[in-house]
């Protein structure tokens, strides 16, 4: 074990302690808390009424499309945060890079519009 | 008020003759009685006639008169309101106790749907032609019609309430 590797042991202990504390509290409170299971209790709750039919049915695909596109463009916005912070130091060259990045995504967005992915009715 | 009670009375008598009777002015509302089988035509006439124009059905409710004669024990009371001349009218139909049945006016006013279901739920008055005549306020499994006089008010299953301390004897409640 070289000396520089030895320096990592306190960090590992710290990480172990943190993860261990979180895991332990969840596990112990699970033990402490009383549990009660019965057929009636494990049914899904629909405002106190017998639920009819099954909720796991095939939904129409437009909900999934909207959700995925939202995630996609939301991640794009996250990439803009670091750029927005040091916007002045990066100057024109930064602007061009970010412009290129966004242009690619706009092409994708244009494709979605053309394919009527967000068409609702 | 352009529309006087006398005008209403005269027009309705001309139109329906013997089917309408017993016109009386009770506290600024003209009240008259209609034979149960003619209720649909009378209300259609009141609604569509140009001078009468009773365009709004305010309320439908049932009344139980146990001391009346056998064929007049249940009454269905309709309140109608003419918004243009601001006049109200009250129509009463008396039904026999054996099988209280009357035509439903849902075809004229959509609002009558639940009002008639409530009257059925309380008194057991059958509304012929009602799209969905079943109980609305009480439990569906209830077989008795609670607003009839013979049905007791208090919950029978109550054990903790000793009637002697509440001054209740059999006959006064």
């Amino acid at each position: 074990m070289q000396t520089n590797q030895l320096d990592f042991i306190p960090i590992l202990m710290q990480v172990g302690l943190a993860v261990g504390f979180v895991g332990a509290t969840i596990f112990i409170s699970g033990l402490l808390g009383p549990k009660r299971h019965s057929a009636n209790k494990d049914k899904n709750f629909e405002c106190g009424i017998e639920s009819v039919g099954n909720a796991r049915i095939p939904f129409s695909v437009k909900y999934f499309l909207v959700a995925i596109l939202f995630v996609l463009f939301d991640v794009e916005v996250i990439f803009m945060y670091p750029w927005a912070v040091n916007f002045r130091e990066m100057g024109i060259e930064g602007l061009l890079k970010m412009g290129l990045f966004m242009a690619l995504l706009v092409i994708g967005f244009y494709y979605v519009i053309k394919k009527k992915g967000l068409e609702w009715e | 008020m352009a529309l006087e009670s006398a005008v209403i009375q005269q027009k309705v008598i001309d139109q329906f003759g013997l089917k309408v009777a017993d016109f009386v002015q009770l506290h600024d509302i003209l009240t008259f009685e209609v034979a149960p089988e003619a209720i649909l035509e009378v209300m259609k006439y009141l609604k569509e006639d140009e001078t009468l124009r009773f365009n709004f059905l305010t309320d439908i409710c049932g009344v139980h008169y146990p001391e009346y004669a056998q064929e007049r024990q249940f009454a269905v009371v309709y309140h109608m309101h003419n918004w243009v001349d601001n006049v109200r009218v009250r129509i009463k139909c008396f039904l026999p106790a054996s099988n209280p049945e009357i035509d439903s006016v849902v075809s004229l006013f959509l609002g009558a749907n639940w009002m008639e279901r409530e009257t059925y739920d309380f008194f057991g008055i059958i509304f012929k032609g009602h799209p969905q005549l079943k109980r609305i306020l009480n439990m569906d499994e209830m077989t008795v019609f609670p607003m009839r006089r013979e049905f007791p008010l208090e919950d029978g299953g109550r054990t903790d309430k000793d009637d002697r301390f509440f001054g209740r004897t059999q006959q006064n409640c």
Partner: protein, 411 residues
């Protein structure tokens, strides 16, 4: 016809089995049930859903049916006001005053002008309180919780005014046959003036928060709309009817308790959707404030109750000293007030519409039959027509804007 008698779940289950959408998605049944946070009260809607869109629905009510009308047949007249303020408990004093006016009409008692003005002030305060709840909770349902927290503060101020008048906050049981149980203390007038000073600014702030709010407008415009003819046919009255475009208001159509002395106009909407209902209730609060100011300005002098000894409890000094007061006191407390044989229907403009009391008396100590014309019960049947074809979130905004109060719904 008989197929409609089946419970809605079975009816919809058969529809679900046959129908497959072209893209393979199926229909489902959703139960917007009694304990749902969006139904501000206890009523149930079973909805046939295609994804988020509502295809069909049926409402079930009666979950707190307490048999008011059956109780009313077994209670003397003074004990029925306890029932009336549990009808629409958001604006309890309006129901109380409506009941007292019905009895005064049946007994033919003329109430002094001062009492009529005091009743107008109390009813308008109750209308403000009712609309505060409806609009702020409509804001909560479309995501704007802050408005609720600020504006509810002023409903507490109205509660304090009621406490000064009759000691209770919500179920007020206010007033007697012929007037009020005691004159209003100076604290009441001071609190009303304080309320009239502070409330307009806060209400303007609440309005600015929502009326021009992009999200709120998108969530409520063209949502749950109903045409004027359909609203009239369904028996709509009150703010929901005025939002559809008909300016029917009983305070103007059949003025009671000297409403004709006040100038106020009736806000009317155009398209009968949730946004119009919100704006009509907003404007009605401004009108109510105007009425209260005029009533305070023109408040006449006089006694706070009519001179009807056999119906109005005599003051305690008289009861101990004079014989007649003792007899009147005893008869009133035992509920033996002389009531003639009459049949009377008296409508009042409640928070949600025309609240009517249809009273049949047979001269005994209890009413022979008392029927409440409950506006919520009558216009709630149109809910399924209004939300058919809309999204679920629109149905929740519509339901909240209709202001259906469970107590009034199944009396």
């Amino acid at each position: 016809m008989s197929e409609l008698l089946l419970p809605p779940e079975q009816r919809y289950a058969s529809v679900i089995n046959q129908r497959r959408n072209e893209d393979g998605s199926e229909l489902s049944i959703l139960n917007l049930g009694p304990t749902h946070p969006a139904t501000h009260g206890i009523f149930q809607n079973i909805l046939l859903m295609d994804g988020e869109r509502i295809l069909d629905g049926e409402s079930t009510v009666g979950y707190i049916h307490r048999a008011f009308e059956k109780i009313a047949e077994n209670r003397p007249f003074y004990q029925i006001t306890v029932l009336t303020d549990r009808l629409n408990y958001c604006s309890a004093p309006i129901n109380n005053m409506g009941w007292w006016m019905t009895i005064e009409k049946a007994l033919g008692i003329e109430v002094p002008k001062r009492v009529q003005y005091m009743r107008v002030i109390v009813m308008e305060l109750a209308r403000i309180a009712d609309h505060i709840i409806c609009n702020s909770v409509l804001g909560v349902d479309t995501g704007a919780l802050t408005g609720f927290l600020y504006v509810f503060q002023f409903r507490e101020k109205i509660y304090e005014i009621y406490e000064e008048i009759c000691g209770a906050r919500l179920t007020t049981n206010m007033g007697r046959i012929g007037g009020f149980e005691r004159d209003w203390s100076p604290a009441v007038w001071a609190k009303i003036d304080a309320f009239l000073e502070e409330f307009p600014a806060v209400w303007q702030e609440f309005e600015n928060l929502l009326v021009r709010n992009r999200i709120f407008m998108d969530r409520t415009i063209n949502v749950g709309s109903i045409s004027a003819e359909k609203a009239m046919s369904y028996g709509f009255t009150g703010p929901n009817l005025r939002a559809a475009g008909i300016d029917y208001d009983i305070r103007v159509a059949q003025p009671y308790s000297s409403y004709e002395d006040f100038e106020f106009d009736i806000p009317v909407g155009k398209s009968g959707d949730t946004y119009d209902r919100f704006c009509v209730r907003n404007a009605e609060i401004w009108e109510s404030l105007k009425i209260i100011k005029q009533a305070l300005a023109k408040m006449p002098e006089g006694n706070f109750h009519a001179d009807v000894p056999e119906y109005y409890l005599p003051p305690k000094e008289d009861v101990y000293t004079t014989m007649e007061s003792l007899i009147y006191h005893f008869k009133i407390v035992m509920g033996e007030i002389p009531v003639p044989l009459t049949e009377v229907y008296h409508p009042v403009e409640g928070g949600n519409g025309e609240l009517g009391f249809y009273l049949i008396t047979d001269g005994s100590r209890t009413p022979y039959r008392l029927h409440f014309r409950r506006p919520c019960f009558i216009y709630y049947q149109a809910f399924n027509d209004m939300v058919k074809g809309q999204n679920l979130s629109d149905a929740i905004a519509t339901l909240s804007s209709l202001n259906v109060i469970a107590g009034e719904l199944d009396a």
